[in-house]
Symmetry: C2
């Protein structure tokens, strides 16, 4: 396998900073061990301003972390729509098995609020490579010259020839529905990937975020029986009660979410752990993992203050 050398490098990089690096580690840590050992500096917190809280009428919550850096104009429009409470009373209208769950205004006639744009520049083909700290995926990828993770674990592909970088359609990624015209997606119609990574959509639609809590609330919805998985009867749609940015959510209902920081030692160890599973169950070690088979764990940070002075 061509990626063995690269993985050995990752293992060295993942060795504890104290003491000698492990040239030949006795055992690749498991994912659980990597998470347990990750120091505070390897975690990154999501900003409430980038969190999109969607409350379904059935009481279920879905939280999406928006990614302004890869789609600034589209995410700005989405934030305008959320601030205007535009999605309140809309619905999940389409659930296509092994593909996407999609929500928005079923009538496609609800006017956008003042300040929001009906036409947003197409941002599906990525941005000039921002050269962020990054954890590479060693080994080949059929869709792109180069893949890896940046920032809060966003899966990103790059093309050194064009100098561009773009988000990739992994499970849980959120994108913008559009018609045939590239600039016809304004962000009002959104979908989440709920099946095998539809990489053929890469560079064809603007990705704007990733579900960081509650993806199972979308992936377990009944499938629509109409064309493309649309619900055929209005009463089958799943109503959306509210969508709020985290900054508008009452403090007690905000989630303080952390994830591993791409480019950190722990993230490299996470990739190595997924590429060669050391749990006893795995008799065959793949010595490889594709971009979409690693997801940065999302943890909720709970701070407790304990009174320790004299009672």
């Amino acid at each position: 396998m061509i990626c063995r050398a690269a993985l050995a490098f990752l293992l060295i990089a993942a060795a504890p900073p104290t003491g000698e690096p492990l040239l030949v580690p006795a055992k690749v840590p498991t994912v659980a061990e990597v998470i347990a050992a990750a120091p505070p500096r390897d975690w990154i917190a999501f900003e409430q301003d980038d969190l999109f809280y969607m409350m379904l009428a059935n009481g279920h919550r879905v939280v999406i972390a928006l990614i302004p850096s890869f789609a600034p104009a589209t995410v700005a429009n989405i934030k305008r729509l959320a601030a205007a409470h535009w999605w309140d009373g809309t619905s999940v209208n389409r659930v296509q098995d092994d593909y996407v769950a999609q929500w928005g205004d079923a009538t496609e006639k609800k006017p956008l609020p003042p300040g929001a744009s009906k036409t947003v520049p197409y941002e599906g083909d990525g941005i000039p490579d921002p050269a962020l700290p990054r954890t590479p995926v060693p080994g080949p990828d059929g869709y792109a010259a180069d893949t890896g993770y940046v920032a809060a674990g966003w899966p990103v592909a790059r093309d050194p020839a064009s100098g561009r970088a773009w988000l990739v359609h992994c499970y849980g990624m959120v994108g913008v529905g559009r018609d045939e015209a590239l600039d016809s997606g304004d962000g009002a119609e959104l979908y989440a990937v709920i099946g095998a990574s539809p990489r053929n959509l890469d560079r064809n639609v603007t990705l704007v975020g990733r579900v960081v809590d509650g993806i199972e609330r979308l992936s377990s919805l009944p499938r629509g029986t109409g064309a493309l998985g649309f619900y055929e009867k209005p009463e089958q749609r799943v109503p959306i009660r509210t969508v709020r940015l985290g900054t508008e959510v009452p403090r007690a209902e905000q989630l303080d979410l952390l994830t591993l920081r791409a480019g950190s030692q722990s993230f490299a160890a996470l990739v190595a752990a997924r590429a060669n599973r050391s749990e006893a169950f795995f008799a065959h070690k793949a010595d490889y993992v594709d971009l979409c088979n690693v997801r940065s764990p999302v943890m909720q940070k709970i701070v407790q203050r304990v009174h320790i002075d004299a009672k």
Copy 2:
């Protein structure tokens, strides 16, 4: 992209047998066009003896095509269990998001019927490459030297060095639960893949089939909240009313299912259509498709006899 030449070859191979081959096709056919144009010789029928009909107590049906050629001992044991109606009254016990739905006897104590084996030889590492007619996937795959489709569209990887071939964990594939010992899976505990292709399981578990009808009945079940997605309360489990091989299903309830034959011209055209989507929506052509992003379409064959002689 390294696969362009190979795809051009596929396009030539997919040209109609009459007339000149299309050296420079004006347009890659769409998946829908490939299916519509596939001649009868490019379709293959499933045998009822290989179809596993699972009726859930909620009235939903899931049909799995078993693949004896890649796991003969395990599939033989599964057929013994089905013939003994062993799964009747068992349940779906585990649904882990982005991973698997798993069913069997929740108590793990139900005795196997006479003739069925508690220990079956491990068949997860494939078989000597059967050199079946095959449609290759052009381009790289990180997990295996070589990938493609055989027979009824089974996704298969090969290692020319060892001469072995094995089934691959794509969406809808069905495998055998086991403990740490490789030979601890007897086929009584089965799972279906309902998320991003967990290729790290390849060569670690015995795959025995593929869901050919009703995968959405499993993938839309509520996720279990226990470890590994097991349901925490017995009443959350989804009861299985019956499991029957097609040979025991009343004729009126049998499905006559067809799929594209791997190795046929139509199957090569299907792969080409998925690698370069010619629908107007796709501005960017990937010029590549990974093994798990092509699934042979499953069609139901309905024969009508119309009386045409004098009334």
